[in-house]
């Protein structure tokens, strides 16, 4: 148990919804969610397909711990082949939708083919119906959720959908649930749009059980107590959210600024967590409250209200209400990366990205690349329509809407940073790995994250090996962010443990207080049948990683692409202690390949694949 042991296969070309049993042999080898759904995807599609063709598949997947009493059990993931990176995409989201899908009795929903006309899937527990989405197509996420609830007369329906961004196949379009939680990265929303699939709406009242309920409740309570006893999870995240990182990263010289021209932003304080709490002229604050996802006793989510007289709200009544506020990555991409210190404009961009269904990191980072092209004189107002200098809040507010709508210069921004910079002959200005925009940590000031960006199976992102936990926060042990020694092993171990976390259905943030081989293993053992010994968990973690890598290589990733933008390797910045640094990737990558059992060119050996059961 833990698993519902059931998946739904929806063929959009034929208009059919067919349930089938979950392959339990695979579940024991890949757990659930990211690992298991990736295994299904990889065995069912040709790696060479065009990600936006009907041959691609799109999987919504929960894990065996999703919607249980375990802490932070809200998570579901969307797995597909990415149109942004050409490799595997797995984007993970919180809120309430994932738990509802699980309680409706499904471990996964696999979408195949392409609908002739826009449709949405309605799931009333085990009753699955494809319905026409004519009246929804063209609408953004917030309105889509409301219209679907109205159509079914059910206030409790949970909805995951795309806005105009996904419909227009913006290459970094997100899928949004519960108005402001995002399966954000790698363009999963564009794949959904390419299939003419507008939304998944679910009501789940069947519930679920676990293998040993008494033991499970004991483990859950003991592990929640650890979260309640740790400063990050009991104070810092509830009060300041991930935004608590803004001033910290700026201090250590790890805050990428103006498309990575600098590593510190003089406006950081103005867009920080502390600024969100500071009274505005009318006495109100940007932050309204914090919010939890389903089952979470951390509650790091931000709820914000834009200053009601801010210029961005002119003619935008929908954005006057409270909604999901700035996370660190988003505040950085709209703010520091674009040189913008207007907190309210950044909050507006956040609301708009959630409504249009755009990935906040990629949008902000793509705009910053455009701003550099503009300042270099490569593009002018002839292309952009309005001036795009670094620091322009007006440009941020205007461009987010144009990008979602696919109009004017927004259509070019919708290609992402790499394709934009290539188009104008300056690919070196794109701060991407494998075509995906990097996150909010400068690898010149935090060396380990540079390796993590490069080895990441979904391209540039911080969520496959979050080295700043060790390098900056000292969790579980402090490592010097400026040294490369030991980072290859740190990244490898982080990757393999997060493979397990992402496959379980829980949020990565519990890792600030838990160990994977302790707390996680205990949860899985109490909830599920199968072997979840530490030895087998390490094997599963490595298996998932090598499987993803092999898919990407088969899809056409050249191992030579395991590198960073030249700026980060060649243009030094002043980091902690006044030292000039670039990212010393060459000191870390060969050791990483060796630790992984890969050739010196970065290809898994047959022996390695065999050890994970990935051959034949």
């Amino acid at each position: 148990m833990g698993w519902q042991r059931k998946i739904l296969r929806v063929n959009l070309s034929k208009g059919t919804c067919v349930p089938e049993p979950l392959n339990m042999d695979l579940a024991f080898d890949y757990i659930g969610q990211r690992g298991l759904a990736s295994r299904y995807l990889i065995s069912e599609i040709d790696p060479k397909i065009d990600p936006l063709s009907s041959a691609n598949k799109l999987i919504f997947a929960t894990g065996p711990l999703t919607a249980t009493m375990a802490a932070a059990s809200a998570r579901y993931s969307v797995i597909t082949k990415s149109p942004l990176t050409g490799g595997i995409a797995c984007s993970n989201s919180g809120g309430y939708f994932g738990a509802e899908l699980k309680m409706a009795g499904w471990d996964m929903v696999i979408f195949e083919g392409k609908a002739k006309k826009p449709v949405y899937l309605h799931l009333d527990n085990q009753t699955a119906t494809l319905l026409p989405a004519d009246g929804l197509w063209g609408k953004n996420v917030w309105q889509t959720e409301e219209l679907i609830r109205q159509a079914h007369g059910d206030r409790q329906l949970k909805v995951s959908s795309i806005g105009q961004g996904g419909e227009n196949k913006v290459l970094f379009a997100a899928i949004i649930n519960d108005t402001h939680r995002a399966a954000g990265r790698s363009g999963v929303g564009a794949v959904m749009g390419s299939k003419n699939l507008k939304a998944v709406a679910v009501r789940g009242t069947l519930g679920l059980t676990v293998r040993d309920p008494k033991k499970f409740m004991e483990v859950a309570a003991a592990s929640k107590a650890k979260l309640a006893a740790q400063y990050e999870t009991n104070t810092n995240f509830p009060k300041y959210g991930t935004q608590s990182l803004m001033n910290l990263m700026n201090e250590v010289g790890g805050l990428p600024t103006r498309n990575h021209r600098q590593n510190r932003f003089d406006g950081a304080a103005a867009i920080s967590a502390e600024a969100m709490h500071a009274p505005r002229a009318d006495g109100s604050t940007n932050i309204v409250t914090n919010q939890a996802c389903f089952g979470c006793n951390i509650a790091c989510s931000r709820i914000s209200r834009i200053s009601q007289n801010h210029f961005s709200l002119k003619d935008k009544p929908d954005y006057r209400a409270n909604s999901g506020g700035l996370e660190y990555e988003s505040a950085w991409s709209f703010g520091a990366q674009c040189g913008i210190d207007d907190l309210e404009a950044c909050t507006y961009a956040n609301f708009a990205c959630n409504d249009y269904g755009l990935d906040t990191i990629s949008f902000g980072a793509t705009l910053s690349a455009a701003m550099e092209l503009f300042e270099e004189g490569v593009i002018t107002t002839k292309q952009t329509g309005i001036p795009l200098p670094f620091g322009s809040a007006e440009a941020l507010v205007a461009m987010v809407e144009l990008t979602g709508k696919g109009e004017g210069f927004g259509k070019e921004l919708g290609m992402g940073s790499l394709r934009l910079c290539q188009k104008y002959g300056r690919p070196e200005l794109s701060m991407t790995v494998r075509g995906q925009e990097l996150s909010a940590y400068d690898p010149r000031g935090i060396q380990g994250i540079g390796l993590a960006y490069v080895t990441n199976n979904r391209g540039g992102c911080h969520l496959r090996a979050y080295t700043p936990a060790a390098e900056i926060k000292g969790i579980p042990q402090k490592m010097d962010p400026l040294l490369t020694e030991g980072k290859a092993n740190l990244v490898r171990r982080f990757e393999d443990t997060l493979n397990i976390v992402d496959s379980s259905g829980l949020c990565q943030f519990v890792k600030f207080a838990w160990t994977v081989m302790g707390d996680f293993r205990e949860h899985l053992e109490a909830a599920c049948e199968g072997d979840f010994s530490a030895d087998n968990l390490w094997l599963i973690g490595g298996r998932i990683w090598n499987m993803e890598r092999m898919f990407n290589l088969s899809a056409g990733w050249d191992p030579k692409g395991d590198t960073l933008p030249k700026r980060l390797l060649r243009e030094p910045v002043t980091v902690a202690g006044g030292i000039e640094k670039v990212c010393e990737l060459g000191d870390m990558l060969p050791e990483y390949y060796s630790l992984r059992g890969w050739t010196k060119n970065g290809v898994p050996t047959k022996k390695t694949l065999k050890s994970f059961g990935l051959l034949g």
Partner: protein, 164 residues
């Protein structure tokens, strides 16, 4: 003296752990739809969640309405309890209750409501933020009174909004 569940909505984060704990305690399954307590989302306009649960009326509308006397008062906990063996699932109680806090469980065809878990409510135990606490009936409003007292004592010049 009996205790009752005190709701402090301003502390609720919307994590639904109370609903999970209730459904698990009552039905040994994670199924929030059958939680006796429910959490409502007023984030967009009011910026808060509000949990809601049976107040255990002294003179209970649900018990008055029940045609088969299936709802009776537990003398120890002062909670109104539905005797499933007597309940016919006629839903008269759900119509009578002005607060909607007794409902019909369609899985078993019976009325369901909070019974205070025999004096140790699982929802209170599970709440991570003390939005739910189990306090003596007579001291229910005490904390609010204390805050108002501080606000109206004349010395607190910075208080601009009502407490709570």
């Amino acid at each position: 003296m009996a205790n009752n569940i005190l709701i402090t909505a301003s502390k609720c984060t919307g994590c639904m752990t109370c609903e999970m704990a209730c459904s698990f305690t009552k039905e040994q399954i994670f199924r929030t739809v059958h939680s006796r307590l429910r959490v409502f989302d007023f984030i967009a306009d009011q910026g808060r969640f509000v949990p809601y649960i049976c107040t255990q009326c002294s003179d209970a509308w649900c018990a008055q309405a029940c045609p088969v006397d299936a709802i009776s008062l537990d003398p120890n906990t002062k909670a109104w309890i539905v005797a499933e063996s007597k309940c016919t699932g006629c839903r008269a109680c759900t119509l009578a209750c002005p607060f909607g806090s007794i409902s019909h469980n369609s899985a078993v065809g019976k009325a369901q409501k909070c019974d205070l878990c025999g004096g140790n409510p699982a929802c209170v135990e599970a709440c991570p933020t003390d939005a739910l606490t189990f306090v003596a009936d007579e001291s229910m409003g005490l904390e609010k009174m204390r805050l108002w007292a501080a606000a109206t004592s004349g010395s607190a010049t910075e208080v601009t909004a009502a407490p709570g």
